[in-house]
Assembly symmetry: C2
Homo-oligomer: 816 residues x 2
C-alpha cells in the first residue's frame, strides 16, 4: 500500500478529497477525513491560540499565545491513527486502549479526547462549545494549564511519552492477563532508536495469545527526530522489513502523503491487522507464538502543516518538529501562514455555531467505555486488592534472637507462592526479574507456577511453560516496563532485581514517580497498585562478582523522590521481610523499595515481634540493650541485614570487654522514619526520635548504603552532630563477606572502635580495647589471605543467649 505524493507538491485543495477506491465508501472516506481535519484543527489551535478559537474574527496577533510551545510534527500522524482506530473499534466493537509513544503529540491526543466527549466529562469547564474550545486552546502548555505530553491529565493515558523508550513495554504490561484487550502501541521512529524500545519488540515471546491481550504495534515513521533523520526511516526498506520480521512480526506498510489513498490504505491495514489478531485468538492454545501483525505508517512529519515558511520547506522535514511557524505575533507573514493553515481544515464545516462538533462527525467515534480516551483499563477500573496469606504460614521460628539462621528471601518465596495460589483466579499478580527468581531463592513459587515463554520448550528447561506468573528476561528495562504497564492498569506485582543494577532503571522509576505524583492530584484517577522493587543480591554479598556489582545507590536515587511516593525498607531478617512485603503488596500509588539478602543469616525477631517492629518502622531492641535507668552511653543504630548483624556482634564484643558500658541498640526498618514529618509522612516527630536516638549521646549508625544518606535524612534532628555513620564507601572487590565489611569499616570491630572513640571519659580501658580490636582486624586479614575464608569465630558468631537446638530455627516455618 503506497500512497506517496510527489515531493514538494501540495495536498490537493477543494472541498473534499477526491474519492479513491478502497475499503472505505465515499461517505466514510469523506467523514473520516473530516474527523481527522477536526482533530488537526484543534491541535493547531492548542499550540497557537488563546482566543478566537474558530477564527470567526480575522486572526489578530493578540489571539496568539505570546510563548508558542508544543510539538506539531508527530501530531497529524497520531490524529490519523486515532481516527482510523475509532473506525475499526466502532465497526467491530473492540476493546482497544492505546499507548502513544510520541507523547509530545498530546495536542492531538487531547483534541481526540475532546472530540469523543471524554475530556468535557472529565473537565466540565472545558465544554463542547465555543467557550470550552477557547479554554481547551488556552490551557495547553500555559501557566496553570496542562503539560504538553500525554500526562496523567489526559483521560485514557497510562503513558506520558516524555522520556522515550518505554511505550512498547508499557503496552505489553497492559495487555498481560487482559485476554479481550488490544493495546495499540504507537512507536515513533525517534523512540525506536532507544535501547529499551529495541529490546521491547521481543516482548511477544512472553505474551500468551490465549490468556493475555494483544498488542498491535504501529511504527510511525515521520523520518526525522529534532534535526537528524531517523535510523528506521532511512535504512533500506528491505532491511526494515527483515528487522521487523526478525523481531517476530508480520508488518503491514502504509506509506504516502496524499490523504485519500492514505485513508484507504490505513483502513485496509487495520482491517488486515485486526483480522489477523482475531484468527490468532481462534487458534488452539498449543499453537505456540504467532507472528503478530504490526503496521508501519510512513507519513510526512508535520503532515498538512505549512509547506514552506520563509522560503524553507517545513512539512515533511525536521523543521516541523515543534512549532513550524514561529514569531506569529511579531511577523504578519507568519500570522497569515497560520491563518491559512488553520482555515485549510475548514473549521466551519466541522463545528457548529456553538462550537460543537457537527452531528455527522460526532457520530463517528465509539461510544462509552469503547472510546480510547475512556478505556477502563487505562484508569485501573478492574483493580482488586490482592488476597494475601496469613503470615504465620510462612514465618521463621525464632525462639531466641541471633541463634539460628534462615534465608530471608526463601521465606518470602513461600509467601509469594501462597499469594499466587490465592489470586490464581483473579490473574492479577506477576513476578518480573532478570532471570534471578531462583538465584534470589524465591524458587518456592515454582511449585505453583512457571516462567512464561512462548518459544520452544525443551527437556531440561526449568519450570518453563506457555503460561506462568514469572517473567524473566535479561533486561531490567523490560521487567520494569512490563510491571509499570501492569500496575498502571490495576494489577499487582513484584520486580526482583540485583541491587547494583537497579540503576539501569533509575530513569524509568523516576518517570513512574512523576506520573504517580501528578496522577494523585487528579481526583478522577483511581489509585494504582504500588510498584514493588525487591533488591536482593545486595552490595554486601558479591562474593562471585566484585566491585562492579557493589552499589547501594538506588536507595539514594529513590530517596530523592517526593515523600508521598517513595518508601524504602531494610528488613533485618526473614520475619521482618515478610511483614514488609505484606505491607507493600497492600499499598497503592507508591514505589516501595525493599532490600533483603538471600544468604543464610541470623534471625532476630519472632513474627509477632517483627510485626510490631515493622509497624513502628524503627525501635529499640531491648533484648540487646542495657537494661538500666537513664540514657545510654552510646546508641548503636543499624539499618539493613548485614549492618544489623555486625552491630549486634559489635555490641557483644563491647559487653565482654566493657561490661558496664550502657549500650542501646536501635534498628531501623523504614528509612523514612528518620527525616522529620514535614519532609516525609513516615518521619518520626522530634520527641519520639529523641526518645530513641537521644538528644546528646553518640550514635554509631551502621547503614546498608552510602553513609551520607543517613546524614541527609537526619540533619534537622537535635542529635545529628553526634551521628557517626558507617556504610558503603566504594571500597570493595573480591573478598569474603566479612572482609567486605572491614574494607568499608562496617564490620563489628570498626563499629566497636567507633563506639569507644565516641564515648567520652572511657580512659585507659578504651586504649586496651582499641588494641584488642586492632589485633582482631589484623588476625582476620592474615587468616583470609591465607585460607580464602573468614575465620569460623566470625563466620559462625551468634548472639549470646540460651542455646537452642539448631533444627527448630533453621528456616523452618511454624505453620504448613
Amino acid at each position: 500500500m503506497d500512497a506517496r505524493r510527489e515531493p514538494g507538491s501540495a495536498p490537493e485543495a477543494g472541498p473534499d478529497r477526491p474519492f479513491v477506491p478502497g475499503p472505505l465508501g465515499q461517505d466514510s472516506l469523506r467523514r473520516i477525513d473530516a474527523y481527522w481535519r477536526a482533530a488537526n484543527y484543534l491541535s493547531v489551535g492548542q499550540i497557537y491560540l488563546m482566543a478566537n478559537p474558530l477564527l470567526r474574527e480575522p486572526l489578530a496577533p493578540e489571539h496568539v499565545k505570546p510563548r508558542l510551545l508544543g510539538h506539531w510534527g508527530t501530531t497529524p500522524g497520531l490524529n490519523f491513527i486515532y481516527a482510523h482506530l475509532n473506525r475499526v473499534i466502532r465497526q467491530r466493537d473492540l476493546d482497544v486502549m492505546a499507548v502513544w509513544g510520541p507523547g509530545h503529540g498530546a495536542p492531538g491526543l487531547v483534541a481526540n479526547a475532546y472530540l469523543e466527549g471524554t475530556y468535557s466529562e472529565t473537565y466540565p469547564d472545558v465544554a463542547r462549545d465555543l467557550a470550552g474550545m477557547a479554554r481547551l486552546f488556552r490551557q495547553f502548555s500555559f501557566p496553570g494549564g496542562i503539560p504538553s505530553h500525554a500526562s496523567p491529565d489526559l483521560p485514557g493515558s497510562i503513558h506520558e511519552g516524555g522520556e522515550l523508550g518505554y511505550a512498547l513495554a508499557h503496552a505489553f504490561g497492559a495487555a498481560l492477563d487482559n485476554p479481550g484487550l488490544v493495546v495499540a502501541c504507537i512507536v515513533g521512529d525517534g523512540e525506536a532508536e532507544t535501547g529499551p524500545l529495541a529490546a521491547s519488540w521481543h516482548s511477544s515471546k512472553f505474551l500468551n495469545p490465549k490468556t493475555d491481550g494483544a498488542v498491535l504495534p504501529i511504527l510511525h515513521l515521520n523520518g526525522y527526530k529534532i534535526a537528524s533523520p531517523t535510523v528506521l526511516a532511512r535504512m533500506p526498506r528491505e532491511e526494515l522489513r527483515s528487522l521487523l520480521a526478525g523481531y517476530g512480526y508480520a508488518p503491514i506498510f502504509v506509506e504516502g502523503s496524499e490523504p485519500a489513498p492514505m485513508h484507504q490504505a490505513m483502513a485496509a491495514a487495520l482491517d488486515e491487522a485486526f483480522d489477523a489478531i482475531a484468527s490468532i485468538r481462534a487458534r488452539p492454545g498449543t499453537a505456540g507464538r504467532p507472528r503478530w501483525p504490526m503496521i508501519v505508517l510512513i507519513s510526512p512529519k508535520g503532515w498538512t502543516g505549512p509547506a514552506t515558511v520563509d522560503g524553507r520547506p517545513v512539512e515533511g522535514t525536521w523543521r516541523s518538529h515543534q512549532v513550524p511557524v514561529a514569531a506569529v505575533r511579531e511577523n504578519p507573514d507568519h500570522l497569515a501562514i497560520l491563518d491559512a493553515w488553520m482555515r485549510s481544515y475548514r473549521p466551519e464545516e466541522l463545528f457548529d455555531g456553538d462550537g460543537a462538533l457537527v452531528p455527522d462527525l460526532a457520530a463517528l467515534p465509539p461510544r462509552g467505555s469503547r472510546r480510547i480516551s475512556a478505556n477502563p483499563h487505562a484508569n485501573a477500573h478492574a483493580c482488586q486488592p490482592l488476597r494475601l496469606p496469613d503470615l504465620r504460614n510462612h514465618a521463621v521460628a525464632v525462639l531466641d534472637p541471633g541463634r539460628g539462621t534462615a534465608e530471608a528471601t526463601r521465606a518470602l518465596g513461600t509467601y509469594l507462592r501462597e499469594t499466587l495460589v490465592l489470586n490464581a483466579g483473579a490473574r492479577n499478580f506477576r513476578i518480573m526479574g532478570p532471570d534471578e527468581t531462583a538465584s534470589n531463592r524465591l524458587d518456592a513459587v515454582f511449585a505453583v507456577t512457571d516462567r512464561v515463554w512462548q518459544e520452544a520448550i525443551r527437556p531440561g528447561d526449568d519450570h518453563l511453560a506457555h503460561e506462568g506468573r514469572v517473567m524473566e528476561v535479561l533486561s531490567e528495562h523490560l521487567c520494569e516496563g512490563w510491571l509499570e504497564g501492569y500496575v498502571l492498569t490495576g494489577r499487582h506485582g513484584l520486580f526482583a532485581t540485583y541491587e547494583a543494577f537497579a540503576h539501569v532503571v533509575d530513569s524509568m522509576v523516576n518517570q513512574h514517580a512523576k506520573w504517580l505524583k501528578s496522577a494523585r492530584a487528579l481526583p478522577w484517577r483511581r489509585p494504582v497498585p504500588s510498584l514493588n522493587i525487591l533488591l536482593s543480591s545486595h552490595v554486601w554479598r558479591q562474593d562471585h562478582n566484585g566491585f562492579s556489582h557493589q552499589d547501594p545507590g538506588f536507595i539514594d536515587f529513590v530517596a530523592n523522590k517526593r515523600g508521598d511516593t517513595a518508601r524504602i525498607y531494610l528488613p533485618p531478617d526473614a520475619n521482618c521481610l515478610l511483614c514488609v512485603a505484606d505491607h507493600c503488596l497492600r499499598t497503592y500509588d507508591r514505589i516501595n523499595v525493599v532490600v533483603a539478602g538471600k544468604q543464610p543469616a541470623l534471625q532476630w525477631l519472632s513474627l509477632d515481634e517483627a510485626a510490631r517492629h515493622c509497624d513502628a518502622g524503627i525501635g529499640i531492641w531491648d533484648w540487646a540493650s542495657h537494661e538500666g535507668e537513664g540514657e545510654p552511653d552510646v546508641v548503636m543504630a543499624c539499618a539493613g541485614d548485614v549492618p544489623t548483624l555486625e552491630t549486634l556482634a559489635a555490641v557483644d564484643w563491647l559487653r565482654i570487654h566493657l561490661p558496664d558500658l550502657r549500650i542501646r541498640v536501635v534498628n531501623v526498618v523504614d528509612l523514612m522514619t528518620l527525616p522529620s514529618r514535614e519532609i516525609h509522612p513516615h518521619g518520626l516527630d522530634d520527641p519520639t526520635f529523641d526518645s530513641l536516638l537521644t538528644r546528646d549521646r553518640p550514635v554509631v549508625f551502621a547503614y546498608h548504603g552510602y553513609p551520607w544518606l543517613i546524614h541527609r535524612l537526619t540533619y534537622k534532628r537535635a542529635n545529628h552532630a553526634n551521628f557517626h555513620v558507617h556504610g558503603f564507601i566504594e571500597e570493595g572487590t573480591t573478598t569474603t563477606p566479612f572482609d567486605m565489611c572491614v574494607m568499608n569499616r562496617l564490620d563489628r570491630f570498626h563499629l566497636a572502635l567507633a563506639a569507644l572513640r565516641a564515648v567520652p571519659h572511657l580512659g585507659g580501658r578504651a586504649g586496651h580495647a582499641e588494641q584488642a580490636l586492632r589485633d582482631a582486624l589484623a588476625a582476620h586479614a592474615a587468616h583470609i589471605r591465607l585460607t580464602g575464608d573468614d575465620p569460623p569465630a566470625i563466620r559462625d558468631w551468634r548472639w549470646p543467649g540460651r542455646p537452642a537446638p539448631e533444627a527448630t530455627l533453621d528456616g523452618l516455618a511454624m505453620g504448613a
Copy 2:
C-alpha cells in the same frame, strides 16, 4: 557450517581429535585444539585450585579453594574464540582488539593473557612457571586477588562485562577513528536481551568504513542465562537470521559441539569475515554503508565441562553457569569429577616440567603488540592531549555584570568549533548527543564538521555526511557507550544531553566510575581522557515539556561517586562555561559533569574574572556584596545559572528595600569545593570555607538541584546549621521560566523572604518588606495566568549598574 553432536553423547576421547577436513591442516588443527585445552585447563584451575596446579600430586580436598566462585559456563566458548582470533591475527598480521561482553568469563581471558605472556609481563610474580601458575589459580576471586570479571586488572581489557549491555557500543567507540583496527566484540546471548545491546547493532550506521576501524560482532549463543533459555538462542533460526540481516549484518553461523569440525568451521568463518572486512575496506569511500560480516557461534554452555553431576546433565545446560560441580572439598565423588575433568585436558602434554607452555603451543599466539592482551589501543597508548583554543577567541564581552545577555552554550559552540579545527589532523575528538547539538545551541560546530551518517543523505538534511565529528542518535545509551569506548582507547569527547534524561545512563556512568577507580590503582594503566557530560536543557527551562523533563538528580547520582572520580561544575554564565569546558577537556580519569543553560541569560563575569573565579571554584562576588568592614548580616550563596540570576535579583531587591542590610554574595562553580577536603580533593579547608560562608551568619543558598545535596556536602562545616537551601523540590509543570522558580521557592522574592527571616533583629522593617514580597508574588501569579508570560519587569530585569550599549554585550566575541 554445522557441527552438532548428538545431545547427551560425550565428546570423543583419545589423544587427539580426529582430523576433519577444512581450512586447518592436520597439525594446525591439533595445535589449535591443544591451545584451547590449555586455556580451558587454566580456567578450571583458577575457579577451583589453590595448590597442586598441574595435578602432579593426586588431587586432594586441601588443594581446592574453600569458597568456589566464578563462572564456567561461557568460558570455554570464549577460549575457543580467543584461540581462533589468535590464528587469524597471526596469519594475516592484523591489529585486533577484543571486547568480551561476557566479562564473567574472565577465567578464560586471564588464562589467555597468561598463555600469551602479557600477564606475567604485567605481574611478574605470576610468572610462566609452576609457582606462577599456582599464584594465577589462587588469586582468582580470592581475598586480595583479582575479581571474577574482565576488570581493569586484565591486560587488554577496556570492558569489564559486569553489568551487561554495553559491549557493542564500547566496541564501536573503540573502532572510531582507528582505521587499521578491527574490534572483535563478543556478545553473549544473555547480554543480547538488554536494551542497550539491542540498540547497539545499529551503530554501524554511524561507522565510516574508510576512516574508522571495523567491528566484528561474534554473537555467542550458549543457550541459557542463569536459569532460563535465552531469547536469541531459542527463537526460530530463520527469524534470528532475519533479525541480524535487518540490523545490517551478513551473519556467518558456526554451530555444534564436536571440537574438530567446530575448529574447522570457526577457522573458515573467521577467514570469511576478515576477507569481507578487507574487501569492504578496499571499496571506494562513496560506496555507502556495507553489510558488515558477523559470526554467530552456537556452542554448549559449559562446553567440555562435566557432562553430568549427581545424575543431572550439566554440560549444555543452565547448570553450567557458575561452578558446575560444587562442594568439591566435602564430596569425594565431586572431587573425582573435578579431577577427571581437569585431566581430560591432558595438562601433561600442554605444560612442561617447569609449568611453562610447551614451545609447540607457545609459538601459536601473535607476538608483541599484536597480542589481544597487549593491544596498544586497549591501554590508550596513542593518547595525545587535545590542542585547545585561546579562550579569548570565544569569550563574551562583559563590561558590567548583569547588563547584557548571551547564550552560554552558543559561546561553547564556537569554542568547540575551533577545538575541532585544531585537532582535525589528530582525529581524536568527537561530540555525541541524542540529536540535540543544534537545539543545545552548539551548532557553530557545523561550520567545520557534520553529523556522521552512513545511510542515504537527502536534500534538506541538515549537516549530514558520511564523515563527521558529531554523532547523534536518540539513545543516551549509545552516546554514552560510544564515548566510553572512545575515551578508554585514549581519545577525547563530549556527551551533551538533556539533564532530566541523563538518568538513562546512570548505571553506565556508575560502571565507568568504578572502572576508573580500579584502573587508577594499577600503575601500568595509562590515564584516559575524562568523560565529559554537558547537561543543557536543564530543569529550570522546560517550557516546552513540563514535569517529566524536570529532574536535576543526575548531579546527586554523580556526587555519590568517589572524590577522585567525580567533578560537578555549575558555571553561572558563558565565560565561566568556557573556562570550565577548557579545564575539563584537559583532564584525565575523571567524570566531569557540567550544567549550563542554553537560553539567553544575563552575563556576569569577564573572561579574566571568570578564569579566576573558576580556578578557585567558589568566591565572593565583591561587586554584588556590601563593601563595609566585618562580617555580613547574611550570605546569599548560589550555584547554577538560574539560581545565580535569581539570587542577584533578590540582592537588588533587598538593597532597594533594606539598604543598610549587609549582604555578601558567594557564587559556587565547583560543587566539590563545599565538602571538606577529606571527602573530596577539591574541598576547601575549614578556614577558607568559613572566610567565605562565615561561621555564624545566615546563608541563603540558591542551588540548581535538590537542596539536600548542599546540606549533605556541608554538614561538617561550622556554619551548617545556618544554611537555608532553596532548590528543586519536585514542584513544576508547564509554566513560565520565572514561575517555575516560584513554585520551587527559588525565585528572587522567596530568596529575599528567606533572607529577611534569617537575619535576626530586623524588626518592623522586615514585616513591611515581607508584605511587599507577598504582593509581588501575587501580582506575578495574576499576570502569568492572564498573559501566559512573565511580567517584563521580571523577564527583563538587569543588575543595576552603569548602562552599557546592548550591542557590545549580546553574544559578541571579543576576538575573531
